[in-house]
């Protein structure tokens, strides 16, 4: 599932982000200004932990 984030550079379009790819270091471009965002390495563990907890929640709900 994608997450959309308002482009911090141009604020004219949303950047579509795939959480797993973001966590693995992929960059995502703004369709308007072509600015790219990537996750800072220091935030990867925090984001990874949260996504794991989110997966647990999703599995729990789907049951």
């Amino acid at each position: 599932m994608m997450v959309s984030l308002l482009c911090p550079a141009c604020r004219a379009a949303n950047i579509l982000i795939e959480p797993m790819s973001l966590m693995q270091g992929s960059g995502f471009n703004c369709p308007t200004c072509k600015a790219q965002i990537k996750m800072g390495e220091e935030s990867v563990p925090v984001y990874q932990k949260c996504m794991q907890e989110f997966d647990v929640l999703a599995q729990k709900i789907s049951r």
């Binding site: 965002i37 925090v46 709900i61």
Partner: protein, 218 residues
């Protein structure tokens, strides 16, 4: 003959309220449970307690408020240097709330179908067949003769009779009852509640790039 009153009585006493209301109540409870789980996830995983509270649970945290956990993103933009007229990438860092990067969805039961069909069939038929056929049989022969001079008399005869009696009586009565009770529940994704959407939007709108003061990114 089927009694229509007795057929109607088949429907009386049915717990219609329970049959229809129970699945709806279960769906509402499931929705509440799912919403609670998601709220707990947001508060425990995407927020931290305010400084000094030392945790994410308890009345202290609730009273002090929650502070969003921030994620650092690197933003790379191409900027044209007006002096050299060359394309130069500039990297900035931005902090985004973790909440804005989680694919939150409001999963809930969005469709409940309760189908209750009950069919009571009753039919009867009666066939009577009766036939009388008389065919009596009895046979006998007799013969006799007499001679009177030059005359002779000879008498002979036979008689027969038969009798058959057939009778049939068919009765047929059929009764069938059918009851089906189908419940289909579908859970789908609903739009995020306006409150959560507003919070995420507020965070997203306040993202401001901060340029890294490293050598090559200036």
């Amino acid at each position: 003959m089927p009694d229509t009153n007795s057929i109607a009585q088949q429907f009386t006493g049915l717990p219609i309220k329970a049959l229809i209301g129970a699945p709806l109540m279960a769906a509402a409870e499931a929705n509440g449970q799912m919403a609670l789980e998601q709220v707990n996830f947001m508060l425990n995983s995407c927020f931290k307690g305010s400084a000094g509270t030392g945790g994410t649970n308890g009345k202290d945290v609730a009273a002090a408020g929650y502070e969003p956990i921030m994620i650092t993103l690197k933003l790379t933009q191409n900027v044209i240097d007006t002096k050299t007229m060359q394309n130069k990438p500039i990297t900035s860092t931005i902090e985004v709330p973790l909440l804005a990067l989680i694919p939150l969805n409001s999963l809930a039961v969005d469709n409940v179908n309760v189908n209750f069909n009950m069919e009571v069939k009753s039919s009867s038929s009666e066939d009577k067949n009766s036939s009388d056929e008389t065919d009596s049989k009895a046979s006998g022969t007799f013969s006799g003769g007499a001679n009177y001079g030059i005359f002779s008399v000879h008498v002979s005869g036979s008689i027969s009779a038969s009798s058959i009696h057939k009778s049939s009586d068919d009765k047929h009565y059929e009764k069938s009852q059918t009851a089906t009770y189908d419940i289909s529940v579908h859970a789908g994704q609903l739009p995020l509640p306006p409150g959560v959407t507003t919070i995420i939007q507020a965070y997203a709108n306040n993202i401001s790039p901060i340029q890294i003061s490293t050598g090559d990114s200036k």
